[in-house]
């Protein structure tokens, strides 16, 4: 499940897992990802490839530029919050020329939510990363435009899509702010 297991076992072991990967594009991906510690896992539709977060951009770039794969289209980029088990950043890739699908995942521990930005690989990652950053608190290093996207500009301390964030928390906070304005004239902290 985690990248640590994968690094210890290596991609050769695990006969059951490799049997499930027969007939998939994993051998091609494995070859393209030479020099990157990647492990594969079958899923309902697409193969999932785990890449350690320090190597993620190197891996993604290799997948995009490999002549036999050419994952030139970033379908989607998002996060999944697994609470105390940390957070997964998920990339869904598609190769227009070959029609291949691939899911790439990077695992982030709870205490260090930093990851290199994928914007140098696909420009499409720009808004997806901005959304993931404001919703989950993941920091994408080297992002060219790290502003909020869907949330208000000043809402940089709460992360609504995290599991520990209650559904109604924002309404509660706004209600308090309305009832007890911090500034004298209602202008608040702008003064």
């Amino acid at each position: 499940m985690t990248t640590d297991d994968g690094a210890q076992q290596g991609s050769e072991s695990g006969a059951a897992a490799s049997a499930a990967l027969d007939g998939t594009i994993w051998p091609e991906v494995d070859r393209a990802l030479a020099g990157v510690t990647a492990t594969a896992e079958p899923s309902v539709l697409d193969v999932i490839v785990w890449i350690p977060r320090d190597e993620i951009v190197r891996g993604l770039r290799a997948l995009k530029h490999d002549a036999n794969l050419k994952f030139d289209y970033l379908r989607s980029l998002t996060c999944v919050d697994n609470e105390e088990e940390g957070m997964d950043v998920v990339y869904h890739l598609y190769s227009i020329e070959h029609g291949y699908n691939l899911t790439v995942k990077a695992h982030l521990p709870v205490d260090d939510l930093n990851l290199d930005s994928a914007t140098p690989v696909w420009r499409a990652a720009n808004w997806y990363e901005r959304e993931a950053a404001e919703m989950f608190g993941v920091r994408f290093r080297g992002h060219p435009d790290p502003r909020t996207l869907l949330m208000p500009e000043d809402m940089t301390d709460t992360f609504p899509l995290r599991k520990d964030h209650p559904l109604a928390e924002i309404e509660v906070l706004q209600g308090e702010a309305l009832a007890f304005p911090s500034g004298a004239g209602g202008g608040g902290e702008e003064e």
Binding site: S43, D46, Y73, R75, S76, D81, H92, N126, W127, L167
Partner: protein
């Protein structure tokens, strides 16, 4: 903006910032963009979205799988069936439900009619954007109304259908479904011809759109564009063809592509797709046979085993994806909606820089954004 000496002139010039939106008739909802203009030329565009953000992905985590269907309508409120389809197919794939044939054919008919409906909405709104004020809009809405009446007869609602269910359909279509659909198609055919006469063959319309806001295939791919925006550049990416779902592999239809990727081709691609949708619906009607619309045994409360899936379908605006992560139980652990407009809108800056201010409105209109889907 800093004062600078214009290269062509001997005097100092200054760029002007113009704020457009969020309340603006040509932004198709609550969308704001800041234009940096030098005379009539747009030098930079900064889009601002999020005015309609309702936290839908968080809401979906609190709803069980059947409640989530209603929420999908509210994200993509011009192509509701297509949005529902991605969601129910994701749940079906995880729960390993087999959808009966009849339900699949009906789903295809409704999704293609919904595509026509959505494209009529586009032609009407886009006509207004380029200056054909009113006429194209009313003609489009006449046709849209015909389809919407049919949807109302089937589902009981004009906008928020909530008709698809994991496993099949909520209930059987009315007895006169097939003749009614044929009636609708007859009306739609005339409607498309009207649109061609009003817009496609109109010299003024062409002067406003041909060569405007072009984007290359490589750029469109890099920005993650899909749907007519990508196909107008010549990339034949249509999920109905590349990754067939439902029964699209048994149906004969063409993928409409363009060559230049300008505003005019984005428009003609959609017109061409409406003709293809009619073809698809006609073939589906031929294949439609009586039968069950739900699997024999459905659990009272639908639960999915742990797993994850990224289910994608071809909605009118492009790829509508649902990334569903389940940890068991009756509701998603995480539900991400991959919106086609969200990605298409990212390319707006590339398309608009260097064009005239008046064309910025046309280019935005040609993307056919639905803010409910962009902001979710």
């Amino acid at each position: 903006m800093a004062t600078q000496v214009h290269p062509d002139h001997e005097f100092d010039v200054q760029d002007l910032m113009i704020n457009m939106g969020p309340q603006h008739p040509s932004t198709h909802g609550v969308f704001r963009m800041v234009l940096v203009v030098d005379g009539e030329i747009v030098r930079d565009v900064v889009p601002y979205i999020g005015y309609m953000h309702r936290g839908g992905e968080k809401l979906a985590e609190t709803m069980d799988y059947r409640q989530g269907i209603g929420w999908m309508d509210r994200t993509e409120y011009l192509a509701q069936f297509n949005a529902e389809l991605s969601y129910v197919m994701a749940v079906e794939a995880l729960a390993e439900l087999q959808v009966p044939d009849r339900a699949q054919w009906i789903r295809m008919i409704l999704c293609e009619l919904n595509r026509i409906l959505s494209h009529f909405m586009f032609t009407g709104a886009f006509g207004t954007d380029v200056g054909v004020f009113g006429t194209a809009f009313t003609y489009s809405f006449r046709e849209r109304e015909v389809i919407q009446d049919l949807f109302e007869e089937i589902t009981g609602d004009r906008m928020m259908y909530a008709y698809f269910r994991p496993g099949g359909l909520a209930w059987e279509v009315p007895d006169n479904f097939v003749p009614r659909v044929r009636e609708v198609l007859k009306s739609v055919r005339q409607g498309i011809k009207d649109m061609n006469g009003l817009l496609t063959d109109n010299e003024v319309f062409r002067a406003r759109t041909v060569g405007v806001g072009a984007i290359s295939a490589a750029d469109a791919t890099d920005w993650g564009c899909t749907g007519p925006v990508l196909r107008s550049t010549g990339v034949p990416l249509d999920l109905r063809r590349t990754e067939p779902y439902l029964k699209y592999d048994e149906i004969d239809f063409d993928v409409i592509t363009g060559t230049t990727g300008d505003v005019f081709e984005r428009f003609t691609c959609r017109i061409g797709e409406m003709w293809e949708s009619i073809r698809i619906v006609e073939q589906c009607l031929e294949r439609l046979e009586p039968g069950p619309i739900m699997p024999d045994r459905m659990p009272r409360m639908l639960r999915t085993p742990p797993g994850e899936i990224y289910m994608r379908t071809e909605a009118p605006r492009g790829e509508y994806g649902i990334y569903l992560v389940s940890k068991g139980g009756n509701r998603p652990h995480r539900l991400k909606i991959r919106s086609s407009c969200f990605a298409n809108l990212q390319a707006l800056r590339d398309m608009t820089i260097g064009s005239y201010v008046a064309d910025a409105v046309v280019i935005l209109g040609s993307l056919d954004i639905v803010l409910g889907e962009v902001d979710r």
